[in-house]
Each structure stands twice: as C-alpha cells, then as structure tokens.
Amino acid sequence: MKTKSLALLFILGLAILAGGLLLPQWMSYLFTIAMGKGLVVLGLVLLMRAGLVSFGQGLYYCVGAYVAGMLTQFAEVTDILLILLASISVSVVIAAIIGLLLCRYREIFFAMFSMAFSMILYGLLVRMQVLGSTDGFNVANPSLLGWAPGPEGASDLVLAVAVFLVVSLGILAWRYLNSLSGYAGEAVRENEIRLEYLGGSVFKVVYVKYIIAAALAAIGGTVTALVSGHVDPEMAYWTTSGEFVFIALMGGTAHVAAPIIAAVLFEALRTYAFAVAPYTWQMILGFALLAIILFMPSGLWSLVERFQNKKARKTT
C-alpha cells in the first residue's frame, strides 16, 4: 500500500508534467494553476482531517502570491527557490501569530475567524495604491539558480517546479498523515478529551497543522502568481477560500492525491463550464458539487476506495 501510494503520486506528477509540456500552452497553464490550488487544498485537507474547515486559506494563498510579486517587482529577486522560501517564511510567521488565537476555536467559529482574517487582508490590499489596489500588479518572469528562461520558457519552468513540489510535498504529507502527528489530527476530531488525558496537547496538534496548511497555501499562491504573471486582492477574497473548500469536498480527505486530482478536475470543469455558459458557469459548478455531495459524500476518492474494496473482496 505504501509503495502503491507513492507510485501513484509519482505517476500522477509525471503525467501532469508530460501533459503540461506536450499539450498546448493553455492546458499547461491550467495544469500549473491546478497544481498550485492542489497544494492549498492539500493543506486544507490536513485541517479537515482534524475536523476543522478553514474558509480563510485565501489569506495565505494571497500572501504567497504577493510576496512573489513584490520580490520580483520591487526587489528584483526572480529566483523561484528564493521566492518560495520567502513566501513560506512570511506565511509561517503570520500563521504562527494568527494561529495563537484561531486554534482555540472549533467548528463554525474556526471557519468564520479564518475567513475574517483573509477578508482583513483583502481590505488592506484594496486600499493600498502602491500595490495596485483592486487591479493588483504584474509579476516578473521567474528564474532558477541563475537560469532565466524568458517569457517563452517561464511557464514551463513554473510547471516543472510545481510538479516537483506537488510530488515531494505530497510524499511528505503522506508520511506526515501516517505518523503520530497525522493520526493526532483524527484523534482531535474524534475526542479531544481523551487526547488531553493521554497527555497530548490538542492546541499544539491543531497549531502545527494550521501552520503547515498556511505554508502549503503560500506555496500554492506563489506558483499561481508566477505562472499567471499577476496578483490581485481577489486571491484573499472569501470566494477564493470557498473554492478551495469546494475542491477539498470534491476530492475527499482520504488520500493526499485526492486534492491534486480534484484540483485538476475542478480547473477543467470550470474552463469547460465557462466556455459553454459564460454567464451561468457557476451554476454548472453548483450542480457538480451538489451531485458529489449527494452521491459521493466522501469525495471522488471514494470511487478509488470502492474499487479497492471490490478488488479485495474478489481476492478473498
């Protein structure tokens, strides 16, 4: 099972990379955006497994994107590794501060508080003329260790880095979920009292998860900013966070590959919906979500589980 899971992630990464590099530019773009969002949702899934739904991951998604944009535009730092490092650092510091308050809350209060913080950032960005207010600003093309591929190759570079990040962070997340810290999330969801009486700190468990989720969201935001070449305050708006929750519900929380697959399908579905119904595309997404909740409440990954169970029954 271990090898299978890792192989699945590896194959998924290779397929997306090959698909992105061989297929038309618009599809490569779509894949990269999906990778970015997939990483944000991966963090969200870590929280959801602990019973916490954040409606504010847009905060860190936006922070990651703006750090990338500001570094390329105002500090002339274009190295993708440095940008990622800075995005992660800034988001972790913010999460470490906000988390002190947020991680004491549960259920709707956690969801609403997380949303409130992302809306505060949105409000701040809208008022900041220097950062382009509601229009945002453009992000320069990235480089890697001194190699600057230019406008033509920049998106391929971001795609390759995004796929590498998805695979490596996916493996790390998978190992994390199978460790005591990972299981501790489920223990928090199931019974906080028992965990405390075992000597575990519920706050610490949730706090660590919140910070990891923030870092993943910032990486996702950085990837999105670098591939789209633009950032704006909408990235912190509550509908963006809602979109991440949508993708998380779509994929389910049973496996680290689920949010990545769901993000790819979501982007494909949205592109298709927008093409066929430019004014009512949200309705198509709504019906899709409705169908998933009604028929696959555990998300698309439940299809894989059903298949696995069927196979197991046949062999026994």
Binding site: Y183, A187, E190, N191, G199
Partner: protein, 265 residues
C-alpha cells in the same frame, strides 16, 4: 512521606447547588478504593475535580504533595493521574489498534513525531501485547464505534493505564456492561491495576463489585463523605445502608476485601 492524593476541604458548587463540600480524603499507593453513593451524591464531581475536568470552588487537591488546582486535564495527566469515563472516551471512528497506537505515542513515547510511521511492526507488537493483557486482542482491527460497551470500557481503561499513572480513577467501569461480564471486566482491570501498584478509585453502584474488589470504601451522600474506611466496616454501617445503599446488605458470606479470590459471585 506525603500521601499520593490528599484533598483538603474540597468544595464545588454549581450556582446555588452544592455538588460537593468538605471533602477530605487521603489515598496511598496500592490502595483500591470503591466510591459509592446515589445519583447526585457527588462521586463524579469528586472524580472530575481530582482529574482537572472541573475546577473546585474551594479547597485544595494535592498529588504527591503538590497542588493541582488550576491545572488542565493534560497537566493533571502528566502529573501521574489517569482516568476512565462512565461513557468510554475513545477515538470512535478509528480501529482499536489505532486507538492504542495513538495512546502509546502520547502516553509512553511522548514525542510528536512527524514522519515516522505510527503503524510500525515494533509499535504494533507492543500495542497488541497490551490488548492481549486486557483480553481484547481479537478486536484489534475493529472500528471502536462497532464494539460492545464492555470492550470499549476495557480499551478506555487500557489506554489510560498505559502511562503507568500513580493514581487511577475509574468512573463506573461496569456501567452499561452486561451483568455476566461485570466480574470478568473487573478481574482484568484489577489484575492490571495490582500489577502497576497504582492507587485506584472506582465509582460503582453494584455493591457486589465493591465488596469483591475494594479494600476501602468512600461513601458519598448529599455532596459529603458520609463514611470512609475498610469495605466491610463501611458497608455494614446502618447509616450507609440506609442513605447510600438503600437496602440492608447481608455481609455474613462475603470474604474480606483484602482476601478476594478469583471467581465470580
């Protein structure tokens, strides 16, 4: 040497209602104490205060001479106080094995590892050894929510005992358990308790269970300790029989608590 547990004028009120008052109890290692009393007498309030689940309105609780007032359940647990609950508190949608592995991680290893697998062969073997000791090994891969009450109770106690607490409080360990299984459950629990030399308090309504397993009895009535002493003495007290037990107990055939033998009543 200070007592393992000492409560001094312990009191708890809920608004105008006094749930417990003037509770002065001392407990030493290896003692097994049955806590009896009718509903609302203050038994669970007492257990909840000693384990940090609720804070007293007055008085003090000393564990090995140190006050635990103001400490959270986690801090009380780390001070060496374990507990089980009237309704078993478990990770319901996880398997018995996963419950035990999580308990091992937090109670024994006490290191929040991030990348080491929880389900390693070594850890599984250790967890299964405990499940064997509590005679619930056959349920290893079952999801907790599907298990009978008795198995859940045993798992709850087994998890609480993992950290080898100096003081163990069991809140109605046999409630919800079938009559024919009560003594089997208590035999298993008491064997583990005696092995660890933990001072143990168990809240119990069944006087047969109390007679069989307790060395000493604390009888609660109206939020106060009505009687505290050797099991036979307390249970033969007419006042305890009238106000706590509610009927006359014939103790003539009962073996003294300290010479309990295996076998069911």
């Amino acid at each position: 040497m200070s007592a393992l547990l000492k409560t001094v004028n312990l009191e708890r009120t809920f608004g105008a209602v006094t749930a417990a008052t003037d509770i002065n109890v001392e407990l030493n290692s290896g003692e097994i104490v049955g806590v009896i009393g009718s509903n609302g007498a203050g038994k669970t309030t007492f257990i909840n205060m000693v384990t940090g689940y609720i804070q007293p309105s007055g008085g003090d609780i000393l564990v090995r001479g140190e006050s635990i007032i103001g400490k959270s359940p986690r801090e009380v647990s780390l001070a060496g106080v374990g507990r089980s609950f009237q309704v078993a508190q478990l990770f319901q949608e996880l398997t018995v094995l996963d419950n035990m592995l999580i308990a091992f991680g937090f109670s024994v290893d006490r290191k929040l590892s991030f990348l080491n697998p929880l389900r390693s062969a070594e850890k599984i073997e250790k967890a299964q050894a405990v499940l064997r000791e509590y005679e619930i090994e056959q349920y290893t891969d079952e999801v907790v929510s599907t298990l009978p009450q008795g198995v859940r109770k045993l798992l709850d106690i087994a998890m609480a005992m993992l950290s080898n607490p100096g003081l163990m409080l069991l809140d109605e360990p046999t409630s919800g358990v079938a009559i024919e299984d009560k003594f089997t459950l208590m035999d298993t629990v008491m064997a583990a308790v005696r092995k660890s030399d933990a001072a143990t308090m168990f809240v119990e309504h069944d006087m047969e269970v109390v007679l069989r397993y307790a060395d000493r009895v604390l009888a609660f009535y109206d939020g106060r300790v009505l009687a505290d002493g050797p099991t036979q003495k307390v249970l033969s007290d007419p006042k305890v029989q009238e106000l706590v037990v509610g009927h006359h107990l014939d103790l003539s055939d009962s073996a003294p608590a300290t010479t309990k033998e295996s076998g069911h009543a």
